[in-house]
């Protein structure tokens, strides 16, 4: 990075660190922080959509649909989430390969499950074995995002279902009295008002989602935990920057990173709550109204 970095062994500590922290491997480490943000940015809306679908389904008058919605949201209770993470990533992987196998090679005679093996025809391999490295990485990341979305979608479904029930029933009846159809009442009265009731729960889920991001490491993604372990391990004098076992300090840095992220989110959520409380029939909304007049 810097011109004086050619021979690190001769440098004083300050320059040594400025060289060490800007070498190629560290840039990969810094990039992996972007993976965390990418995961948050994609997972949050997708799981919100899953949750919304689940909550709407739970309210449905068609019984099987309501059961499906309730089953989905109830599924994640009582079982550690990490079990779902490890489970879904395999199931999704095998499911996709199985489906493509059925489509691509219907005349395949052999069993797919042979003892401890899961064998599909070569055309159904996902991603195909000669695909470039980035395809493999993107595929792995997409599977991870989908897994997160399934689990956190169920959490969101739970919260949104509660929020929909918290909207004063008189409001919905008023809508019906004005001759609105069920769909109109849902979209024009229920949905705009439910967010303020959902926000504490959704905020909580957001904080939990942040704290769940290091689990990407378990799903085989090269995320910040992976790089912290890689870079922190001790290096002998064969390497350009020899150092003892520094993994503790790397994890300390990650800890501080997550603390900052949590703090910033808390402040942001507090602002959002204030914004959404305007004009609502809640205590906070009432306080705002009084302050305005």
């Amino acid at each position: 990075m810097f011109a004086f970095c050619t021979d690190p062994a001769t440098l004083d500590p300050l320059r040594w660190f400025s060289c060490y922290l800007t070498n190629g491997a560290h840039f990969l480490f810094y990039q992996s922080f972007l993976v965390v943000f990418a995961l948050l940015a994609v997972t949050a809306p997708v799981s919100l959509a899953f949750g919304f679908a689940a909550a709407s389904a739970s309210r449905s008058h068609i019984l099987p649909v309501a059961w499906l919605g309730k089953l989905y949201t109830a599924m994640v209770r009582g079982v550690p989430d990490i079990v779902f993470f490890l489970f879904f990533i395999l199931v999704l992987d095998q499911g996709i390969e199985y489906l493509r196998h059925q489509i691509a090679c219907p005349e395949w005679a052999e069993e797919i499950r042979q003892g401890a093996n899961f064998l599909v025809c070569p055309e159904a391999r996902t991603p195909s074995s000669n695909a470039p490295q980035w395809v493999h990485e993107v595929y792995g990341f997409s599977l991870a995002v989908f897994t997160y979305a399934i689990v956190f979608g169920a959490f969101c479904g739970n919260v949104l279902y509660g929020a929909m029930r918290a909207v004063p029933h008189a409001q919905l009846e008023t809508g019906a009295a004005y001759g609105m159809s069920r769909a109109q009442v849902f979209w024009r009265i229920l949905v705009p008002q439910m967010w303020i009731y959902a926000l504490p729960g959704l905020g909580n889920i957001w904080l939990i989602l942040i704290k769940a991001t290091p689990l990407l490491f378990l799903l085989g993604i090269e995320d910040i935990v992976y790089w912290a372990r890689e870079l922190g391990g001790s290096r002998n004098s064969v390497y350009q920057y020899p150092h003892p076992d520094w993994r503790f300090w790397y994890f300390l840095a990650l800890l501080v990173f997550y603390l900052c992220l949590t703090r910033v989110s808390e402040i942001g959520l507090a602002r959002l709550t204030g914004h959404l409380s305007r004009g609502q029939a809640t205590a906070a909304g009432d306080t705002l109204r009084k302050a305005a007049t």
Binding site: V79, L86, A228, F248, L255, T262
Partner: protein, 279 residues
């Protein structure tokens, strides 16, 4: 019968008793159920001890956080923020690395007439190191729950205590503390469930499973890797955890009833079980 054989071989495998090699090929359903169940012993061990020790520390922390003295309040606030604001997964990694860096020393002391040779190496083992992390973590979460409840103790109760001449420690022990527990209990039940779920992370963070003595998820993951079939081992773990969760709800529900026994029916705090949150 084959199942009895599996029980004999692997029933206590998680403690290192029984067959040394884990099943390699031709893994039967019995073996999976028995071995994963054997791993559950670790989850229960971590959960009960962390929760048991954590309770007392959490009460102290909550009182400290509610203290008007800055010098007492600030450390408690920071402790709670650090352990609640960061992922448990990272905490495991960090503490493990810190324990590995400890100098290797052994101390010998007699405890109740028994010679014990304690070594700092133990800190890097899951049974002690992970327990310490879980203890600190649950203390922080529980302290926040207790702190919230402490602030919600009805003012009338405290006024009444004053009127009766109760103050200081006596007031805390007879009035404040029981009411705090009563108010905090539903949330604390969730925290307990939560903690038992968190124990599944132990062997997936850096704590190694010494001689493949792991917890339920460790063995489930082993089977899933071996058979490449996630549809058997993971539902078994899920089943064990659901049973464990129901057991916790049952026990904590009993305690909740006892804490509320002096109140008329309408005013009792109900248990609302929402154990779906991860740390």
């Amino acid at each position: 019968m084959i199942c009895a054989e599996a029980l004999q071989d692997y029933g206590l495998r998680a403690l290192g008793i029984g067959e040394r090699l884990l099943p390699q090929t031709d893994i039967s359903l019995c073996q999976q159920i028995v071995l994963i169940g054997s791993g559950m012993m670790w989850n229960v061990y971590f959960g009960i001890l962390a929760l048991g020790f954590g309770f007392f520390f959490a009460v102290a922390l909550a009182v400290a956080k509610a203290s008007p003295a800055r010098l007492i309040r600030k450390p408690a606030e920071w402790f709670i923020f650090i352990f609640r604001g960061s992922p448990l997964f990272i905490q495991f990694f960090m503490v493990y690395e810190a324990f590995v860096m400890l100098p290797r020393v052994g101390i010998e002391f007699t405890f109740l007439g028994v010679e014990i040779a304690a070594e700092t190496r133990w800190f890097a083992r899951a049974w002690l190191g992970a327990l310490i992390v879980l203890f600190l973590n649950t203390s922080a979460y529980t302290a926040e729950i207790f702190y919230g409840a402490l602030r919600n103790v009805p003012k009338g109760d405290l006024d009444a205590a004053d009127a009766y001449g109760l103050s200081g420690w006596k007031r805390f022990r007879r009035i404040t503390f029981p009411t705090t527990m009563r108010l905090a209990w539903p949330a604390y039940t969730n925290e307990a469930i939560f903690l038992f779920h968190a124990t599944a992370l132990v062997f997936f963070s850096s704590f190694p499973a010494f001689q493949q003595r792991g917890d339920a998820l460790y063995y489930a993951n082993y089977f899933a890797d071996r058979t490449f079939n996630p549809f058997v081992p993971y539902p078994i773990v899920a089943f064990y955890f659901v049973v464990l969760t129901l057991l916790i709800i049952l026990i904590f529900g009993r305690i909740n009833v006892r804490l509320n026994r002096h109140l008329p029916n309408g005013q009792r705090t109900r248990l609302r079980i929402r154990p779906q949150l991860m740390r």
